[in-house]
Symmetry: D2
Subunit: 307 residues, 4 copies
């Protein structure tokens, strides 16, 4: 149960079989940092190329294809004061006929936010805006986390899949646990793309993007094969489907939940369906990236009554 | 501000220009009842044909095309003890390869629930199930409500559109307010398809279906043209997009929210986008009906700081 | 086998149970006319309101719900010289980021074409365009045809469904036969929205729109229940799926073809699948209307070897 | 203009920056072979792991990111007699409620075909089938071809993207020319997944799969940046969009065609739109793989009148 402090020296824009950054044992904790989505660090210096550069990969001893990697997000803390966000709604999230006026308003550009991790707020820092100074409550999360992709692939950190990646789901906040299928020896865990906060869907193309201090603990479930990322917090267990269109995300997330309930909660297909039908909740992860994300959640309180 | 008690004598399976059931004035309240989705009433007698039979239409004096109909859901109360729900997940909400095992498990069938409106629970009443007796908390809602459709259409209560209809959104519960575009003189408001409770997405094809006592109050916003249904509760204003795929629901709901924020909250396109990007929430209405439903929500607390 | 000449005096913008225009017997032929999509007639006079106004409904003696209506398109002839078309690609058929430049180029507007039915050409008649005078070969078709919709609905002629409607499929040209499910006594057949020619997908929102002389013959297949429109020409039998997204159109069209092959060609599910897999062709009807259209085609020559 | 004969010794299941198989100069021709989709060669021996193993990569001298790779398919010839195909329709191409009966019929399995490249037929070789002996005309094509993916990715040959890949488009037959964006020095061209013939959409998950002799000629267009694969045959120029849902494939293919017409044919956005609107054709590549494929085609005869 060692605690490692790891200072990254290089970053990755794909999730694949890259040279190992650090080897850890199940139960070990890692303290490290992530640059922001454009490759800027705690000093706001661009130290690597943009496009969700990842810290990692972390090699988990004993992890083999067919296992499940467990990632507890112990601590997520913005480590600089300048955050930034896209301003206008992305062209794919509005009615097609609305795209013209968004293009006319400037298309894609960014504004700055003042992130105060102690007070717990992000304040718009754009004096030309009538909203200058407006304050939102921080809710730090990781936009992109996952493992080396299946079949020897190296997948861009712009998108996501069964291996995780750029899911941009608000639920990957401090205190949450993420589960990923292991496709490669050592699993090769990557993380980055910190958001000080984000709306559902990442509909302006970004959260409030910021570099971060991160502490996480890795663990291993031997011989448990999962097909899509899963997660857990104090209230819910959840599953993530990453695809297009959103309908297909729903299908993956729902089928993965069905597998979870029948595999681990002693429910047959019929009882699991019945319960899901009346108690399931869905969250929208993102509707911006090349693959969208929907999340299927089941209340733990209910499931505990079943054991 | 009269209060009308209306006892329906016939029901409708389309939302169109049917003979008026009751004429009311803006501000008037109506107490009435709805049969369940299969046309069964408080005595569990089948009194009309199945397929979301609607109570109504209610004609609102003064409502003209281009106005907005306001519907406050004052009271929603299941008025009988037998509820029922679909059991198995619908074939379109799971991975295509999973449909085979669902078909083998029986495809579509229903089980009963004991609905206790006083205690506030629905209890599974299916002795053959290992879950027999499991209790869920009531959260009564209307699955289908809306107005006569645009352009002289009569649209099935199986589906939804700009006129509302079968949106199966949990947010249409007691205390919520719904807004609909008026397409016909008098608006012609319909309601029905009561659910004692429902999971997100209505993924088994039903909530816990039950007949209901309903009290609602109609009002009118003259000259305010909206394009998709809107709503409001104590925490959020929200907009609904009804279409397929879900991506398109997101587009309609997001564009409608953009119109609301720029039309009524003094925000230009840029500020409205910025705020939506970091604070919006999406709910999944249904992913089962011929048209799916996604809901875009903005926190009222935040918006109040803008006025 | 009477031949009726019918001069319409009113038109319909929904496909529903409207007052019968003409009653005909199975085998009867009808000669009539259709106004263009904006309600302009052979003299280019606006005689009814725009939005695909339909000629009809034609009541077929003996047609009952559960039967199949047969429509042979004997003759389709543009009956005036001015055609018109949308110019710019619709915002939903290009990459979202491209919509801005289309909006800047003017969004939606129309140009005229000179339609010469004798020579068989449409010539661009817009002197300001560098393409002024360019000639395309006529290929007249009906954009919108179908029957009163199911369940007592009245569905806008802007869209389509199991009842047919605005499918905008080039294959509904002279010589083709269309089949529709009958949902109402008499079937109630409607037709209109003539195109002098059209590209696949109707991606500018129109074909070359023109009024038409039409001759068609109605027939009846008693007791044959079909679920989606079907058709036939000298080379192919085909089925049409009308929905969104296109993936779902493919599903409806493919399932309907599977039903056709297993129902009428003596193939079991396995043999029908095998044959479809290696020989099927798909056409894109439209990707512009509220419901899109995909067409599944099987070569008749191959199928004849099976009988 | 050398002609190289290349005998592959290893194969790849991703399109990425793998060790170069052969370096060639612009204008050079390569004669080589491809194993079938399961890794079986001309002797029907499994010599590599299944999943569309690729021959290559071929390094084109002088190719740099931002250029266009040109691939002329000079010759495609099945080089063994046993072909095989999936039998049942894939679960995602039929109505969800139909999936149950397909699962019951066996789900996924394959049958053999006798491929006679001299006579030009494939004959079903499955004595248990009532269709045993049925003959289809050969139309050999490559299901999977393309270049190393952008951004240092390695993408599975199960799917496709801007780099090409598993598009399963019948149009990539002998005589056709394919164009790919170059993302890596040398372009790194891969090819494989030969089909003796295939229906539109690859709706049973396969064509008639067979190993092949292939001859192709590579060329280079310096400084021409394209965004999606393009192609050309004697009748049409065409563009391919690879994504989900099919609607998005249409968007990519249409936008790419718009870029081609405005970039190379002297048309502005308006004239290109107008022409596309009335003359474009779409083909369905596949509706089975993780990314679907739609093809946008414009008639060369028409375009020649513009030069």
């Amino acid at each position: 149960m060692a605690t490692h402090t790891f200072t990254p020296t290089r970053y990755w824009n794909t999730l694949g079989s890259h040279p190992v950054a650090l080897r850890v044992a199940p139960g070990d904790t890692v303290r490290t940092t992530c640059v922001d989505a454009r490759g800027r660090d705690a000093q706001d210096l661009q130290i690597t190329s943009p496009g969700n550069p990842m810290t990692g990969p972390f090699y988990l001893e004993g992890a083999q294809p067919g296992d499940t990697l467990v990632v507890r997000l112990d601590r997520l803390l913005p480590n600089r004061r300048r955050g930034w966000s896209g301003v206008l709604l992305a062209p794919n999230v509005v009615e097609p006929r609305d795209v013209g006026q968004l293009a006319q308003a400037g298309g894609y550009f960014i504004w700055n936010w003042e992130v105060d991790a102690e007070v717990g707020t992000a304040k718009l820092n754009h004096p030309e805006s009538p909203l200058h100074g407006i304050e939102l409550a921080l809710d730090p999360m990781l936009g992109c986390l996952g493992v080396a992709a299946e079949g020897g692939q190296a997948i861009s950190t712009a998108t996501s899949g069964p291996h995780g990646g750029n899911m941009d789901y608000r639920g990957f906040r401090e205190g949450a646990t993420a589960y990923f299928p292991v496709f490669t020896e050592g699993a090769l865990f990557f993380l980055g793309d910190g958001h000080a906060l984000q709306g559902d869907g990442e509909i302006c193309g970004t959260g409030i993007e910021v570099s971060m201090e991160v502490q996480f603990t890795l663990d291993l479930i031997k011989g448990q094969k999962i097909e899509w990322p899963r997660g857990e917090n104090s209230e819910y267990i959840f599953t993530l489907g990453n695809a297009r269109p959103l309908d297909q995300c729903v299908q993956h997330a729902s089928s993965e939940m069905l597998r979870w309930l029948t595999g681990s909660y002693g429910l047959d297909l019929t009882q699991a369906s019945l319960l899901m039908g009346q108690t399931v909740r869905y969250d929208l992860g993102n509707v911006f990236d090349p693959a969208y994300t929907m999340v299927c959640k089941m209340p733990k309180k209910l499931l505990e009554t079943l054991r």
